[in-house]
């Protein structure tokens, strides 16, 4: 196992941020939006810019929010659209994914990851590995992975925000998970 990965510290608790934001804590709310923007953009500066644009958009178009969907769903869609715009401004290089790349050969022995530390908060080497892997993931797959797996939204909510069908979300999620797992395995299983 990679020795440089064995540095652990307590993570930020996003659930705590949600509770504080619901109680009217402005900093917790901006933290939540900033976090989500960062998870998609993977760049602190772009995340801050997206956070600011998201709040401005929210204020300008709050009257359009009809209450039929959750406020968080509406907010996620604004953040996602801003992140996509930011990423499309620059020449964005990503690979294409197909089912074969999401598979693992049946005869391959899969190592046990139980000794890999799971806390990434203060682990710069692990953060770099995670950034490299997710930056290779096409943005359409990244958005689905972040919404469904990282932020814990339902498949239906994810489909609604990403403007995809439920089967399309499941397919992209399967490929995204397998791709990221395989990218991390190249480093973590050394």
């Amino acid at each position: 196992m990679n020795e440089s990965l064995k540095n652990e510290k307590h993570p930020i608790n996003e659930s705590d941020l949600i509770i504080k934001a619901q109680a009217g804590d402005r900093k917790a709310l901006s933290g939540l939006v900033n976090n989500f923007a960062f998870k998609i953009c993977r760049d602190p500066e772009k995340a801050e810019n997206t956070m600011q644009e998201t709040f401005l958009s929210m204020i300008k178009s709050l009257h359009q929010f009809d209450g039929k969907s959750k406020l968080s769903t509406w907010l996620y869609r604004i953040v996602m659209n801003h992140c996509l715009m930011e990423l499309r401004k620059k020449k964005y290089n990503s690979i294409s994914l197909d089912d074969e790349e999401a598979e693992i050969p049946e005869d391959k022995l899969i190592p046990d990851w139980s000794n890999v530390p799971s806390d990434v908060t203060e682990n710069a080497e692990l953060k770099r590995i995670l950034d490299e892997a997710i930056n290779k993931l096409p943005i359409d797959y990244r958005v689905v992975f972040i919404l469904r797996d990282v932020n814990g939204l339902s498949t239906e909510e994810t489909a609604n925000i990403a403007d995809l069908s439920v089967p399309a979300v499941k397919s992209r999620l399967h490929r995204a998970r397998a791709f990221l797992r395989n990218e991390l395995s190249k480093v973590l299983e050394k």
Binding site: K27, M51, D112, S118, V120, T121, L173
Partner: protein, 78 residues
């Protein structure tokens, strides 16, 4: 009843979807049975779960300055 033997490849192909998805179908019941008996697939299953856990815990703390700039931009600074 589907008595087709579940292979590791079947598990590899469907295991990801089973994370957080409905496991009541016959296919998923067969996969769970295979999983309980196959260490290789157990390792794969747990490594996918750990991958998700990594990204869930990878957060960016919003600094006081960053929050202050937002409040200024919104005209909400005290």
């Amino acid at each position: 009843m589907n008595i087709e033997k579940i292979t590791c490849k079947d598990v590899m192909n469907h295991i990801c979807e089973s994370l957080g998805e409905d496991l009541e179908s016959q296919k998923c019941v067969d996969i769970k049975k295979h999983l309980s008996e196959c260490p290789n697939c157990q390792n794969y299953f747990s490594s996918v779960g750990k991958t998700i856990e990594f990204y869930k815990k990878y957060d960016l703390d919003v600094s006081e300055d960053c929050h202050k700039r937002l409040m200024e931009k919104l005209g909400l600074d005290d």
